[in-house]
């Protein structure tokens, strides 16, 4: 099963001191290396802070945009991992070691693997 781990925190990298950010990056380097070795790693990325976000809507063919994320919360989405795990509890175990879990929180979401979704998104073709 694949799981998406969304990392949310009140403070993102850009808002940390250089020393703290360096330490945090080092923790991510270590963690990512570990889950590559263990075979859990599928994908990951860090996102720029929500201030860089634009939210897009289309209504009656008209595009409208507004600044910021679609929902304002104190916790900001800072990055994500996609992991492969045997089950939800294994995913929780891996997610609990994401460095951001110690500062903010990590939302673990199972990725849909039903035939209809796979067919519609052609996940199989792109590997």
């Amino acid at each position: 099963m694949k799981y998406l781990c969304l990392i949310c925190a009140e403070t993102v990298m850009e808002q940390m001191s250089a020393v703290d950010a360096e330490k945090h990056f080092e923790e991510y380097r270590e963690f990512t290396g570990n889950i590559r070795t263990s075979g859990h790693f599928v994908d990951c990325n860090r996102l720029l802070p929500p201030i860089a976000a634009i939210t897009v809507r289309v209504r009656n063919g008209k595009v409208s945009t507004c600044d910021g994320p679609y929902v304002e919360t104190k916790e900001q989405l800072g990055g994500y991992y996609v992991i492969e795990a045997r089950d939800l509890n294994e995913a929780i175990r891996v997610a609990s070691r994401i460095p951001g879990a110690g500062i903010g929180c990590v939302e673990v979401r199972p990725i849909a693997e039903d035939v209809q979704t796979i067919h519609a998104l052609r996940i199989a073709e792109t590997g």
Binding site: E27, N34, S38, G39, D87, L88, E90, R93
Partner: protein
């Protein structure tokens, strides 16, 4: 994942995972003193095996190799995490690193599986969590499979497991086989979990399928493991016997359309006679021990049913006698209801009806559909059609299970004609 792994090695590892991963996990939990750490360690060990065995060949004792590799990996991880401020105590790391050669000997490892059973079924964890933990850690079911089997959301089961593990960690629940004086009570808890898993598989409490085979099969596997580890415990023998005897009727219990078929209407050629023979043998062994309890007595009752070549041959006096012993060992209204049915078979429906009325007048089982189903059946046999209809309707209102509803509706329709 590495694409260049040859397929025989992958097969070897898959088979090893299937057959040995619970043993490896059980031992790693003992050596590391923590469920999560042990699961990570085991995962790492299998990941490392994939590349290292490709290069060096499969070691002579793969299980011992996996245990020691997992342990080293875990110690390494604890040391690294200390660097990032996670508070692994030096003492904890030291303890994990001091391993004796005997730690991975077969005998110690068998004990580890027993430790794991008793820890998963520890009475300070809620029963729901005991069941989830047992199925995941001992039977190797995934969280999603456990959730599916119990018609729960995976997130609910996952949290139940996480909380149970923190409870084990924080309450310092020891990872051990209980001392002789505690064994009967603690074993009782283990048997209860196994029986609950079996029953959930055998007669799903809700939903459209009458039986969920996987759970019954898992429960029987657990029962076998338990008597392999504790061969002298008569109630463990009795429980396995009981499960085998019930399960032997699986193919005959439901019609091809999913409808319920009652015991006396079942096609006995569909019964699994190998399971019956094994169940009867185990029952005899348990009965001969002299200190048997309710599981053995229930197995003995099931054996009388299973060994009779048809319903007319059943010795109902013997069954009533076994129910008397059962009620003596363990007062239970459900057993009383079953005894009432046996008494009705021995002395006629009037006698059964009196016993069921007595149960109901005491306020026992008045929300249980089978009480009214039995009552309805007695009325039907006595020709009291109106009372029978009322009782069937009561039973119908109380059951949520589809095949049972269909059965009761069928009976009701027969009466209306």
């Amino acid at each position: 994942m590495n694409e260049n792994i040859d397929s025989t090695l992958r097969e070897t590892l898959d088979a090893l995972y299937y057959n040995e991963s619970r043993r490896v996990l059980a031992t790693l939990i003992r050596l590391l003193g923590d469920f999560d750490l042990a699961e990570d360690a085991m995962h790492d060990a299998f990941a490392i095996a994939l590349t290292q065995w490709q290069r060096d060949g499969v070691p002579t004792n793969p299980r011992a190799w996996l245990v020691s590799t997992g342990r080293f990996k875990a110690i390494d991880r604890m040391r690294r995490q200390t660097r990032f401020g996670t508070s692994w105590e030096d003492e904890q790391i030291f303890e994990a690193s001091s391993m004796e050669a005997t730690d991975v000997e077969d005998e110690t490892i068998e004990d580890d599986r027993l430790r794991l059973i008793f820890t998963c079924c520890h009475p300070s964890i809620s029963l729901d969590a005991q069941v989830a933990l047992t199925l995941r850690e001992l039977c190797n079911l995934t969280t999603e499979e456990v959730a599916h089997a119990f018609l729960n959301a995976p997130a609910t089961i996952a949290q139940r497991i996480v909380r149970a593990k923190s409870k084990i960690r924080n309450a310092n629940i020891p990872y051990e086989v209980p001392e002789v004086e505690d064994l009967p009570n603690r074993l009782e808890a283990v048997l209860k979990v196994i029986y609950l898993v079996f029953n959930e598989g055998y007669s799903a409490s809700t939903g459209s399928e009458l039986m969920r085979h996987d759970l019954s099969g898992e429960a029987i596997r657990l029962g076998r493991l338990l008597i392999e580890l504790l061969p002298e415990e008569s109630e463990a023998l009795g429980l396995l016997a009981l499960m085998l005897l019930h399960d032997s009727r699986r193919a005959a219990r439901a019609a091809p359309n999913g409808d319920l078929v009652l015991l006396d209407e079942q096609d006995r050629s569909l019964w699994n006679h190998e399971q019956i023979a094994e169940g009867s043998e185990l029952t005899k062994k348990a009965l001969s021990s002299g200190n048997f309890g309710s599981y053995t007595l229930q197995a003995a009752i099931a054996a009388v049913h299973a060994e009779a070549s048809n319903t007319n041959q059943i010795d109902w006096a013997e069954i009533v006698g076994l129910y008397d012993l059962l009620l003596h060992a363990n007062q239970s209204p459900v057993a009383e209801l079953n005894r009432a049915v046996a008494v009705a078979m021995r002395d006629g429906p009037e006698a059964g009806l009196a016993l069921v009325d007595d149960l109901l007048s005491r306020g026992e089982l008045n929300k249980y559909h089978l009480t009214y189903a039995a009552q309805a059946d007695f009325y039907r046999k006595l020709g009291k059609i109106e009372q029978a209809k009322v009782a069937y309707q009561y039973a119908l209102n109380l059951t949520r299970q589809e095949p049972e509803r269909r059965f009761l509706n069928r009976r009701l329709a027969e009466l209306k004609n």
